[in-house]
């Protein structure tokens, strides 16, 4: 089945591993991702912080491309892109706002856009847990994960429509389908510090440290995330968090697509695992899927 696909900027740089693993896993599930031609940045945090209409216009341009593709669903892996696209679509329901946004665009936008949803929801809608389980080649039963959605994926509830905004459980259902042990992680929707990593590094370090500390105390093998920025804060900035907490975490932080990819038998290379700042080797050893015996995998 074909899906319109909006990768977002992060996947082109900081999170190429998310992109690689997303594409690999989607392919394994029989989801054909059709990348939007000539897509542009959604505007990320800066655009909507400065000018909501400009932010909407940036997103609407992408939505408009998707509408012309005649896809029913537009998937995006990044919660921030998802949030911006969904907010823009919502804003366009107001005729006055629509008129102002249309002024910023070369051509007036289509009157209706395809539904925008996360890759995660797309997977769950595409196949049920039983079918996902049937595609696993490598059981993850040796692994214990802390699922971490970040603050954006489920909020605001009425726009994101991601289930209980305080306690989403979609990632759990995907990972348990691959036999992993997934703990009830109380901070699953807490904030990691997000883009404050740049203007106020100590705050991000403190907030990320709390998440890492709880995961460590809960003795998980890895935190599993769905957001490029969360991943960066928890993984790349883990030393900063360690410094703030005056401790050492050594906590691998995987994208859920990477975890699923391991279950589907993809090699660490295919999934971009080498890009993780905190090595996932401990996981691979537990799985018996060391880089050395990757030969047996896809």
């Amino acid at each position: 089945m074909n899906y319109a696909y909006y990768p977002g900027c992060s996947t082109q740089g900081a999170s190429t591993d998310y992109e690689k693993s997303t594409r690999a896993v989607c392919a394994a599930l029989g989801m054909n991702l059709v990348e939007l031609p000539e897509w542009n940045c959604c505007g990320s945090t800066p655009a909507h912080a400065v000018d909501t209409e400009l932010s909407a216009a940036l997103c609407v341009r992408n939505l408009d491309i998707a509408a012309r593709q005649e896809s029913e669903t537009l998937l995006t892996p990044c919660p921030s892109c998802l949030s911006n696209l969904k907010h823009a679509a919502k804003r366009m329901q107001n005729p006055e706002a629509r008129a102002r946004v249309n002024e910023l665009l070369d051509n007036p936008a289509a009157s209706e856009f395809p539904a925008v949803t996360s890759v995660m929801q797309g997977m769950a809608a595409h196949l049920d847990a039983k079918e996902i389980a049937s595609r696993t080649r490598k059981s993850l039963s040796a692994l214990t994960f802390a699922p971490y959605y970040g603050c954006l994926m489920s909020r605001p509830a009425e726009i994101m429509k991601f289930g209980d905004p305080e306690n989403p459980t979609l990632m759990e259902s995907l990972l348990t389908a691959c036999s992993a042990t997934v703990l009830d992680f109380p901070l699953k929707t807490a904030c990691c510090g997000a883009s404050y990593g740049i203007p106020e590094r100590s705050m991000t370090a403190r907030l990320s440290a709390r998440i890492l500390q709880l995961a460590t105390d809960m003795k998980v093998d890895a935190i599993v995330v769905a957001c490029p920025l969360c991943q960066m804060n928890l993984d790349l900035r883990q030393p900063q968090a360690e410094k703030a907490a005056d401790t050492r975490f050594a906590m691998p932080v995987l994208y859920f697509t990477q975890a699923l990819g391991l279950a589907f038998g993809f090699s660490p290379d295919t999934l971009g695992l080498e890009k993780l700042r905190v090595s996932a080797d401990s996981l691979l050893r537990k799985l018996g899927t060391g880089a050395a015996n990757a030969a047996g995998s896809r």
Partner: protein
């Protein structure tokens, strides 16, 4: 008719901006007006005497007073004309103060308006008819719905006053929420010790009939003559025979039965007496957990009961009581706090409600008063209290304050320290509301003598830290920064709501309830005990959040209202009620459908169906009058002809 018109000067209140003399002159020309006067103060004694004299001297049979609002002095002047021998309804008022002299700047316009208001009043008066109240007998018995502390107080006061009381309680014991409390603020004395004797008095009082484990099925009738059907729920134990010895409970094999009295902090047996001081001290079988009733085999309690009281075949039964008044004292329940997903939504065993905490503190509770964490039985070191969970929170649609949480939280913090001297308590609060006698002193003592740390701010999240404790995240708005506290136990001061079933009862009693389900009093300030349905009174939290002393006071107040009403052998109805002209009535029943009080019934008169007003139930709204197309239903003192006369005086 011979009508006298009195244009009151009200000192300069009216005369300052209305030419009263001119109004009087104009009024003289109105039909049937034979006398006008301009008293300085009509309501003062000389003014009233002059009016009485004028009625006699000029043989007046109707009086118009143009003065202040009828809401102010209508009752006064009605008494005046009555003293002079007129029917009190042969009197009308024109409001030329609040509606004219105080709000209009121009004297000309004011004078003209005042004269017109007098004209309207005269026009209406010419259509007035003398009305007399009817009397009817009173059943001098009261039914009290709810056996919490407010209902108990009402029951005892009424019973002591010689009024037979029917006390109906839904649970198997009276005592209500207060019976579950360990201690009470601000004196920290034992709740059971002060409530217990009152409960025993209820049981022993010759004037009180107690229906426990019973619900109100239906209410009909009207003030002085209510008929109440009471559903006595099946207890499966013959209470005539049960001695409360407790053998059944000791022997019952079904020991995992959830214990509602202990707020589900522990378990009990399927047949049990809810607590040692229960009144009545009788056993009840929980049908959902009884092996005999669910699986059909067991019968242990029946075997061991020394008096043979167990009756597995028992059914609900209905009893009917005739009473003259009803007091609703149905209390409250805690709101469903699990909507707070950020506090775990009920998933964390050590995040509990304040009422559960009371049971943990109580020596008659499941732990025998030993303060432990529900999850592992350990003694908590850090106890965090969170106030306003479900109170003053618009985001979940509960803007109201629950009124007593600030105080019991302080009490619970104090008790925590007394139970576990090494412990540390924290209280997250929005504002401390301690306006009662000795209340603020008490919260100060909690802080100053018991070292309770008060943090002004709300809690944003509670989560387990993975090491056996909970992280309570909140903000300290006084410091202006976020705080995090590691807690062993979190106690939520959960907001209250009207007890379950309140709305259904309100419909049966035909009284109003507010958005939160609390019963509406007749006037928020001046009639806090009455309802708009005559003969139905309110006591306790069912009317709005209040603490024990206020509930007890209102319980006594409701009893006083009942006894005042019963002090008369006959009641008079308000004659300003509807009546049906039987000749005009075609029996279409439109009035019956609309009447908000069910005050109109169908009656068969010589083979024809007609509408008939139940005079004691009608409250005089006149909805039937504006509904009846043929004008058969008419509201006395606001008939179509009376209002048409007013309209015609203005528009022609």
């Amino acid at each position: 008719m011979r009508i006298g018109v009195f244009i009151c000067h009200c000192g300069s209140n009216i005369a300052g901006t209305v030419d009263c003399t001119k109004v009087a002159e104009i009024a003289k020309k109105f039909p049937d007006v034979v006398y006008t006067a301009e008293p300085m103060y009509t309501c003062a004694e000389p003014g009233q005497t002059a009016m009485e004299d004028a009625i006699h001297e000029y043989r007046l049979d109707g009086v118009v007073v143009a003065s202040c609002s009828p809401r102010m002095h209508e009752a006064t002047f009605r008494r005046t004309v009555e003293r002079a021998g007129l029917n009190r309804y042969m009197f009308e008022m024109a409001n030329i103060r609040e509606h004219v002299s105080w709000i209009g700047k121009e004297k000309d316009a004011n004078t003209n308006k005042a004269a017109e208001l007098v004209e309207i009043a005269v026009a209406k008066l010419r259509n007035n008819r003398p009305l007399t109240a009817k009397t009817f007998d009173v059943t001098k018995k009261v039914l009290i719905a709810g056996g919490g502390v407010a209902g108990i107080q009402s029951a005892l006061d009424c019973a002591d006053g010689g009024v037979p009381v029917i006390l109906v309680e839904r649970e198997s014991t009276i005592g209500g929420k207060m019976a579950k409390l360990d201690k009470t603020f601000p004196t920290v004395d034992c709740s059971a010790c002060i409530l217990g004797p009152k409960m025993v008095d209820v049981a022993q009082h010759p004037n009180i009939t107690l229906h426990a484990y019973s619900e109100i099925e239906d209410v009909s009738g009207y003030v002085g003559n209510f008929s109440v059907k009471i559903r006595k729920l099946a207890t499966y134990v013959d209470w005539e025979k049960c001695t409360g010895c407790g053998v059944c409970s000791e022997k019952c094999p079904s020991k995992k039965t959830p214990d509602a009295f202990n707020e589900f902090t522990g378990t009990t047996t399927a047949v049990s007496i809810s607590f040692p001081q229960a009144i009545p001290k009788k056993a009840v079988i929980n049908a959902r957990h009884c092996r005999q009733l669910t699986k059909g085999k067991c019968g242990v309690c029946a075997k061991f009961c020394p008096t043979g009281a167990i009756d597995y075949a028992m059914q609900d039964s209905i009893v009917t009581e005739e009473v003259g008044c009803i007091i609703a004292a149905t209390g409250y329940d805690l709101m469903d706090w699990t909507v707070y997903r950020e506090y775990g939504g009920g998933a964390y065993p050590d995040v509990i409600t304040s009422l559960q905490y009371e049971r943990l503190l109580s020596s008659s509770g499941p732990t025998g008063g030993h303060l432990i964490r529900p999850s592992d039985g350990g003694e908590p070191q850090n106890v965090v209290f969170v106030q306003c969970v479900g109170s003053r929170d618009k985001s979940i649609g509960r803007p109201q304050c629950s009124a007593f949480c600030c105080m019991y939280t302080a009490k619970q913090a104090v008790l925590t320290k007394e139970h576990l001297p090494e412990s540390q308590s924290y209280v997250f609060y929005m504002d401390i509301r301690a306006p009662g006698k000795m209340y603020d002193e008490f919260t100060r003592r909690a802080m100053e003598e018991y070292g309770v740390e008060y943090i002004r701010g709300r809690v944003s999240a509670i989560y387990p830290d993975g090491l056996g404790q909970y992280v309570v995240m909140g903000s300290d708005t006084l410091l202006g920064e976020p705080v995090e506290i590691k807690a062993d136990l979190v106690v939520l001061a959960v907001g209250i709501e009207a007890a379950r079933g309140t709305r259904a009862l309100a419909e049966k009693l035909r009284i109003s309830y507010d958005k939160s389900g609390f019963f509406m009093e007749s006037h928020v300030k001046l009639k806090p005990v009455e309802t708009n349905t005559a003969g139905v009174f309110l006591a306790g939290v069912c009317q709005g959040a209040k603490d024990i002393p206020a509930s007890v006071a209102q319980g006594s107040a409701a009893a006083a209202k009942v006894m005042a009403l019963f002090a008369r052998d006959k009641l008079e109805n308000n004659p300003q009620i509807a009546f049906v002209d039987l000749r005009r009535c075609v029996g279409c029943g439109k009035c019956i459908r609309c009447c908000p009080f069910g005050a109109i019934k169908e009656k068969d008169i010589r083979g024809e169906t007609k509408a008939q007003v139940i005079e004691t139930v009608c409250q005089g709204c006149g909805l039937c009058t504006s509904t009846c197309p043929q004008g058969a239903a008419q509201l006395s003192h606001a008939t179509d002809n009376q209002i048409l006369a007013e309209v015609n005086a203005l528009c022609r």
